[in-house]
Symmetry: C2
């Protein structure tokens, strides 16, 4: 049998627990893909460690190389937050956000389900299964801030959220398509009663696109109210569409009620295909437990499922998801190492 | 006995359930104060209903009259959100936010406790008792936004968050004082790794003021991570200090985990005393249940406790709090009317 399909991956294992969880994610990916595609892998040693050693955060040359791949798998980046050389989110902005912006990852897709065997901190979460479609290239993340008279009693620091019809419409359309393929419910989350200009834009575009999707029912929640429903009735959500900052906040909350950040996967998508999409667990690099085989690779593995699905390898993606579900359902009280979890899931996911 | 103390209240009962819950809050206030002060009350018929009938949201003359009172008690404002005449948060911004800004309510104080007899949606919340000190006059709430080419495919809508050393320092100082008088823990919540200018300002001011408060231990959480801890370990929090928007979001979440928005009180404080502070339940006007005596007046009553405490009537405040606690602990399955709950708490709170 000839493998007609190739999947050419860029891997940024990163810092802290990043390399450990990424190793398991790749092991599962290879097992699940089996003969369905030829997987190639190029490792890019980026992150806080690399920066401290070399001074490079993400150069143009590296960016150009990364752009050639089919998809990027990222473990976690970020060093010791108390290290003054890493202050001000220099790695987060210079690497993670730079990749999202450079590769126009305007859809940040973050699903939440409470999987069998997983304990939610909520007493009675109900049947939770929703996805947050977070805008990824606009909002308060654009870096359009500035400050005057820094360090004096007269300092003033501004941050500007930028929102465009172009940027909002494309992510709203993506969210409607998701809702149409799921349970047909879309919730716009914003703060239209305070942020009237940005909120008005989001609201009008959702209303306009809704007219093309009579099969999708639409509602609206202020971001503050959305956090209430997230803990009192998360089962009400199907697809949430929201801006970059609200999406950042809501998806951490969603991860928490879904059983923890150790299970939360995400895809930074460029649905146009002009640049590779990037897949990463929502969790950080957790330097405190790095190198000890204590990290749970499940979020990284579920990010691989997203990667495979978005790469047209839906059956392999489904095998990964089923293997994770079975593994979670069977987890006992005895802790396993990162590699043990990865090996078990890889075995179950094998094509 | 002569009453040396007076308490001259402005009352904005507002819309929806506002008048019902305010009536009970005032009944409890009068009972708890008893002979300790002479309470006078002026009603201001403001809100969505008033606006639709008269065209006034909040005129300068009314504002000047309100400024003369010792404190303002507000029920809830806002009409039917689908009413196009009320679109774009016109009442919220023209009345509620206008009052906060005009009277320089730079401290928005929002306590959360899980009181005996109250069920949290969290399976195992632990001993929750914290206050959020939300900045009230800056951040993305300043109305410094704008839009170009509205309604076209080239629309761009900006919102600017404004943060000043003056504005941040005063609220941070207030928060440190709260922490010193409580369990000595202060958590700054922001998003310093993305909003570097505003985040840097907040971070530096917290660090500077911390040097004057060796008795307070300080930590920092990104707003996204803060929502995780809010559902996995809310007992870790003592005092949270944060900006206007993050505070808006976190306090709704806090209210939810504390047993619901029906119990969440708030004070919009101007600690200088130049203008009256304003006390209001965190909940809205809930038009769907208005006029049916179904609303829980507890959040309004707990707002009265905050009002009394901030007005130097600490013993009356404590009586209200104890009466609410006793009432909550004894609540059975039989629903009571708004007035029944108010009457029971008033009786227990009587001086
Ligand atoms: C690390 C940080 C810049 C990032 C974000 O804010 O988007 C993270 O919180 C996330 O959600 O992926
Ligand atoms: C009604 C709205 C403007 C207000 C706010 O955003 O501050 C409310 O949500 C609150 O928290 O008091």
């Amino acid at each position: 049998m000839t493998r007609t399909r190739t999947l050419d991956l860029a891997v940024i294992a990163g810092d802290g627990i990043g390399p450990e969880v990424t190793a398991e994610a790749l092991r599962v990916l290879r097992a699940a893909v089996g003969d369905e595609a030829t997987v190639t892998q190029t490792d890019y040693p980026l992150g806080a460690t690399h920066y401290l050693a070399t001074g490079e955060i993400l150069g143009d040359e590296t960016l150009e190389k990364l752009a050639q791949h089919d998809a990027i798998l990222l473990g976690a980046v970020g060093g010791d937050p108390r290290d003054p050389k890493l202050a001000g989110g220099i790695i987060e902005r210079g690497l993670l956000l730079k990749l999202r912006f450079a590769f126009d990852h305007h859809v940040n897709l973050r699903p939440t389900r409470i999987l069998p065997g997983v304990t939610s901190p909520l007493a009675d979460p109900g049947d939770v299964d929703f996805v947050v479609v977070r805008e990824g290239t606009e909002g308060p993340y654009v870096g359009n801030g500035g400050a005057l008279r820094v360090g004096t009693p007269h300092e003033i620091a501004n941050e500007t959220s930028v929102n465009t019809a172009f940027g909002v419409e494309r992510v709203v359309r993506f969210a409607f398509a998701q809702a149409a393929a799921r349970r047909g419910r879309l919730t716009l989350v914003h703060k239209t009663n305070v942020l009237v200009h940005a909120g008005g834009l989001w609201q009008r575009i959702v209303t306009a696109v809704a007219a093309e999707h009579p099969e999708v029912s639409v509602d609206y929640l202020h971001v503050d109210a959305a956090t209430i429903f997230m803990v009192t009735d998360p089962a009400r959500f199907d697809v949430i569409v929201t801006d970059n900052l609200f999406g950042d906040i809501l998806t951490d909350l969603a991860a928490a009620i879904g059983g923890g950040i150790g299970l939360a996967a995400s895809g930074n998508l460029n649905p146009s295909g002009d640049f590779p999409s990037m897949f990463e667990p929502v969790h950080g690099s957790a330097p405190d437990i790095a190198g000890q085989q204590k990290a749970d690779p499940t979020a990284a593995i579920l990010s691989v499922a997203l990667l495979l699905e978005q790469s047209g390898l839906g059956e392999a993606a489904a095998r990964v998801t089923r293997a994770v579900e079975a593994d979670l359902a069977a987890r006992g009280a005895t802790p396993r190492s990162t590699a043990e979890i990865g090996a078990a899931i890889a075995e179950a996911a094998a094509a």
